[in-house]
């Protein structure tokens, strides 16, 4: 209660030229910004052939608006075609609230966030499907967080550290529901910490470095059962875009390493103790104003403590981006997972955006 009172005082005490709350309607000026991103996919692979062909990979419906003088709200509702089970073809769509949150606008130096949102862990977990650098999330992300990334209900606080460069610290407390990472717990929270830094090496070059950690511990006092999840990650990204002719040439190199350790007693499939880590590294080169070429290498199996086979995945992508509202991407994956023959996959994606299209994170 005391905490609630203090928070309310901080939020409301800051002087603002607040819009009058009585002004509830003035044409459509106060309507939220609405945008829709649709990803249409053609896939032809050597495995999971039941998912081959044309499908709607995902549709993201985004709403965002200031709530009042103190809060801003954002909602992303995702619709995606469910993956087919072996031997049958699924046409079902699943609707999921990917993110629905409010964040503060008026507190100086910090942002408080409340709702369901992507965990601010690493460089790519918090990115929506339409803005991912490749057509799929990647083997390391899927192994660590599951197919759809880590998004949970919770509360977050972020602020800029007092440093002479961009240095952002983010702390989040999340209600754990992700089955890949946590046991279902109503009493224990998962805590995520991220430290992100960016330096301008010149007007054309930047270097970004991040450190991330996640900790979850659950202890049931009645049954004495325990469950623990620990994630550690670091990411490094170099970007170059010249100040002259910057619309037709650019380069990016990004690498992310994540290590996972899940341990527990019976309720986690009997004394589980699983360690696995992976590294993802890719380069993107802009060939012309509308053309990009990308290549990615992933290795999954770092620091593991069981005899599962390592995965080496190689990806090449060519993108045609006519405007910031549409792109056509062709991707080829070769995934070597220890089976006799590697999985080969060819994908073609059309990515379109209508309505409001908020700026992408750098």
């Amino acid at each position: 209660m005391k905490l609630f009172l203090i928070l309310s005082m901080i939020i409301t005490s800051y002087s603002l030229n607040a819009q009058s709350l009585s002004q509830t309607s003035r044409g459509n000026k106060f309507n939220p910004s609405i945008g829709l991103n649709a990803l249409t996919l053609y896939k032809n692979g050597s495995r999971e052939v039941e998912n081959d062909g044309i499908s709607i990979q995902e549709i993201e419906l985004q709403f965002s608006s200031d709530v009042d003088a103190y809060f801003r709200a954002e909602a992303t509702i995702a619709l995606h075609q469910e993956e087919s089970e072996e031997g049958e073809h699924s046409h079902e769509f699943k609707v999921e609230p990917e993110e629905i949150f409010v964040e503060t606008l008026s507190i100086p130096n910090m942002t408080l966030k409340l709702g369901k949102f992507y965990a601010n862990f690493g460089k790519y977990n918090a990115i929506h499907s339409h803005a991912l650098p490749f057509i799929y999330r990647g083997k390391v992300q899927e192994e660590i967080f599951g197919d759809e990334g880590l998004a949970e209900a919770g509360i977050g606080l972020s602020f800029l550290a007092p440093a002479p460069w961009f240095s952002e610290v983010s702390i989040q407390a999340l209600q754990p529901t992700n089955e890949t990472l946590f046991v279902d717990s109503h009493h224990s929270m998962a805590y995520v910490l991220k430290w992100k830094n960016l330096w301008d090496l010149s007007d054309a070059m930047t270097l970004e470095w991040g450190l991330s950690g996640l900790s979850f511990s659950d202890h049931n006092h009645r049954s004495e059962l325990e469950a623990k999840t620990r994630l550690y990650g670091t990411d490094l990204t170099f970007k170059w875009r010249p100040t002259k002719d910057g619309k037709s040439s650019s380069f990016m190199w990004s690498t992310e390493y994540i290590q996972k350790h899940i341990s527990g007693t019976e309720n986690l499939d009997e004394n589980i103790n699983k360690k696995i880590g992976g590294i993802t590294s890719f380069v993107r080169y802009q060939l012309a104003q509308r053309w990009y070429a990308q290549a990615q290498y992933e290795f999954l199996g770092l620091g593991k403590n069981d005899d599962t086979k390592d995965i080496n995945a190689y990806t090449a992508l060519l993108a045609l981006i006519p405007t910031e509202f549409s792109s056509i991407r062709a991707q080829f994956d070769s995934i070597h997972d220890g089976n006799d023959k590697p999985e080969k996959r060819l994908s073609l994606q059309l990515n379109i955006s209508i309505g409001a299209h908020p700026a992408h994170v750098y």
Binding site: P108, K196, D200, T243, G246, Q289, T323, Y362
Partner: protein
């Protein structure tokens, strides 16, 4: 107690002489703030003179700069909408949010040309329904913006009101005199083709007839069929120059010039520091006048 008094004195005197920290989105705005604010402001532009402000990326380092700003001056009219809102939010500086005392949107204080009436859709290209946002290339419009900057700086730093008014008067006087001199270079009718509608306000100021643009639609690169139409217009309308803003590719303009050799291609800066010798608004307009005028 003595130490405390000294510290208090130092603190007060530092506060009294600290400069207003201003961040602008473009170098043209930065120069204008410098002209008005002189030594009483510390100004930096996010966009460099050779960059197209439509397509800047939301760099976290911009966020860092805005977190320390007393005042943000932006163009508005949709020019920075692809990156600025994210940078403002990330700065966690409530004073510089749009509508707050520390944010001046320059397009709010000038009447814009080419406002779109009726239906508008993205099939028309990168249109700005609010109007053309390149008003910083119209010297008369810039005087209006300078006036608004003077009021804003005064409201943030009442103590230096006289200095800001002095800065504005000097700028206005010099610009008015320069304008009279520059206009003499446009006594004959001048017809041009441009790459993008960046120089609309400059043409409006000096009565230059912009016959067409190389882009078939705003933001869409030239197509072969559009260029064929441009070539026939260049021939029939007696166009002498094709003006290409230096953040666009001049290849297509040169192709037209090859077809119609009497047509000259001029690659021009449209922002302060867009070229080495262009280091303020006066040298920018002087450069444009010499390249476009006769």
């Amino acid at each position: 107690m003595k130490v405390f008094s000294i510290l208090l004195f130092l603190g007060v005197s530092f506060a009294a002489h600290s400069k207003i920290k201003v961040i602008t989105t473009t170098t043209n705005l930065a120069d204008l703030v410098r002209q008005v604010g002189g030594d009483f402001v510390e100004v930096e532009s996010l966009c460099k003179g050779s960059q197209d402000p439509h397509f800047l990326e939301a760099k976290p380092s911009y966020t860092f700069k805005l977190s320390k700003a007393d005042l943000l001056v932006s163009i508005g009219a949709g020019l920075e909408e692809g990156w600025l809102p994210l940078v403002i939010r990330g700065s966690r500086n409530p004073d510089i949010r749009e509508g707050q005392s520390g944010h001046l949107v320059a397009s709010d204080v000038v009447s814009l040309l080419e406002q779109v009436k009726g239906e508008v859709s993205r099939s028309q290209g990168d249109v700005h329904p609010e109007g053309n946002p390149h008003f910083m290339l119209g010297p008369s419009k810039v005087i209006e913006v300078a006036k608004a900057i003077t009021s804003k700086l005064t409201s943030l730093d009442e103590e230096n009101k006289e200095n800001y008014n002095k800065g504005f008067k000097a700028f206005e006087e010099r610009m008015t005199l320069s304008l009279d001199r520059w206009k003499k270079k446009f006594s004959n009718s001048i017809k041009v083709i441009s790459y993008h509608k960046t120089l609309t306000y400059f043409y409006d100021e000096f009565g230059v007839d912009n016959i067409d643009v190389l882009e078939p639609k705003p933001g869409i690169p030239p197509t072969a069929s559009h260029i064929i139409g441009i070539i026939s217009k260049v021939k029939s309308e007696e166009v002498k120059k094709i003006i290409v803003e230096n953040y666009f590719d001049e290849t297509v303009a040169k192709r037209v010039s090859k077809e119609v050799p009497r047509v000259q291609v001029e690659v021009v800066p449209v922002a302060v520091y867009g070229k080495k010798e262009v280091d303020d608004l006066f040298t920018l307009y002087e450069y444009l006048v010499n390249k476009i005028g006769e």
